[in-house]
């Protein structure tokens, strides 16, 4: 059974049609990359797929799996430390133990930063805290909007590895990135969807 199916999705913003007739089916073990220039509608499509944008969205979007969405904003409270941000993350469907969270933070090279307020961390470290959610969530479908932003090369390698493990374990992924695909993912060029308008 597919994790997500989008059929004939059309997105309009005001009187402007951004995308037309986007079709994709994400099955277990699949990685899809949305590509296109800035402003083409990658984030709008991601938000529509996540169920966040409904106004101006036509077509059918069906999700058959729990969802983990990581947008441009990391959804972290600057006054809370990394442990608290992960323990109390609003979208997480599991009550992660402190041990799990410490392991997740160690995996993103933030061991020793558990008790520091997130506001005191660098942008790259904050992104790593946000990405540590991947390890404490049971969601099978990941929607990651520009997940490599602000990451150094070791962070990008770590994320590559997590994505590979996720899809090998039966998960699915849609992500946006301006970098060339690193996993042999299937691509949707949104420039073509725009030309269809």
């Amino acid at each position: 059974m597919p994790l997500l199916t989008a059929s004939d999705v059309t997105i309009e913003r005001g009187d402007r049609r951004l995308l037309a007739d986007v079709n994709l089916t994400v099955s277990a073990g699949e990685i899809w990359q949305l590509v296109g220039a800035n402003g083409v509608g990658k984030t709008s499509l991601m938000r529509a797929l996540a169920g966040l944008a409904r106004l101006g969205v036509e077509g059918q979007i069906e999700r058959q799996a729990e969802l983990l969405y990581l947008g441009h904003a990391s959804a972290l409270k600057p006054s809370l430390n990394a442990m608290e941000n992960l323990r109390c993350h609003p979208a997480c469907d599991v009550m992660a133990s402190d041990d799990d969270i410490e392991r997740a933070l160690a995996a993103v090279s933030l061991a020793g930063h558990e008790e520091r307020p997130v506001g005191a961390l660098s942008a790259g470290q904050q992104r790593r805290v946000a990405l540590a959610r991947l390890l404490v969530s049971s969601a099978r479908l990941w929607l990651l909007d520009e997940p490599f932003t602000a990451l150094d090369s070791s962070g990008c390698d770590w994320l590559d590895e997590q994505i590979q493990q996720h899809v090998e374990a039966g998960g699915g992924l849609i992500f946006t990135s301006h970098q060339p695909s690193r996993f042999g993912s299937r691509q949707i060029d949104l420039e073509l969807a725009r030309f269809a308008c």
């Binding site: 729990e66 969405y69 959804a75 809370l80 469907d93």
Partner: protein, 232 residues
């Protein structure tokens, strides 16, 4: 792929959301101090503006205390979901596998404890500053406990509707002040009745009914308003 499966109940999700915002508020004491400081400053201005006649101040105290409580609630309402909208937390709330109304209620509860509840606890000090007779102080506290519940929930609906609008403060005031008027009338009347030796219980019962009704209806409205704002 993590091995753990979903193990969080609805109560757990509510408690987690409450805890997240309670911790954030504790780490930013200004969130708690500002409404109380505002209340204190405005109350101290009234004797300067109206004159120091204790009799006159005592007569006007119920109305003054309740109007200032309404204004301080209005001040807090504008900021209720602003940081969540900016840092992306609202998006995460909206896609969480739990009703948005319940999660929003968890957040609003934390705000109410830090503002309305503390205001009700501190209200005897402000009442004494205006010379409110002792017979009205208990009723003032109870009416503020019930009334700020309504004010916070109504304010949360307004905040949820205007969170995506830049400089939406004026629109927020226009939206929620008319809805706050019944609470203001019932609260002021309850305290006045208690001061005059009348029966304040019926007014407090009305406020209790309003608070329960708000608790039942407003979270759904907050959730719907947040979805509309996220869709902009």
């Amino acid at each position: 792929m993590p091995a753990s499966e979903s193990n969080l109940t609805l109560h757990g999700a509510f408690a987690r959301q409450f805890s997240r915002h309670a911790r954030a508020i504790i780490r930013s004491p200004a969130e708690v101090a500002n409404p109380l400081l505002f209340f204190f400053m405005v109350i101290t201005l009234f004797p300067l503006g109206l004159g120091p006649d204790p009799q006159r101040l005592a007569e006007m105290a119920p109305g003054i205390l309740w109007v200032v409580a309404l204004l301080s609630s209005l001040m807090v309402s504008g900021k209720l979901f602003a940081s969540d909208y900016e840092d992306g937390s609202l998006e995460q709330l909206a896609i969480a596998p739990f009703p948005l109304a319940v999660l929003a209620l968890g957040e609003v509860s934390a705000y109410w404890l830090a503002t309305g509840f503390l205001l009700a606890l501190a209200s005897p000090i402000f009442a004494l500053m205006l010379g409110l007779p002792a017979t009205g102080i208990f009723t003032l506290m109870v009416s503020l406990l019930l009334g700020t519940t309504c004010l916070t929930l109504i304010g949360a609906v307004g905040s949820a509707l205007t969170v995506s609008i830049r400089r939406g403060g004026m629109l927020l005031s226009l939206l929620i002040i008319p809805l706050n008027v019944p609470v203001l009338i019932f609260g002021t009347t309850a305290v006045s009745e208690a001061v005059m030796g009348g029966n304040a219980t019926s007014w407090l019962a009305l406020m209790g009914a309003l608070a329960l009704g708000s608790l039942a209806v407003m979270p759904v409205a907050i959730g719907a308003a947040l979805r509309v704002s996220l869709d902009q």
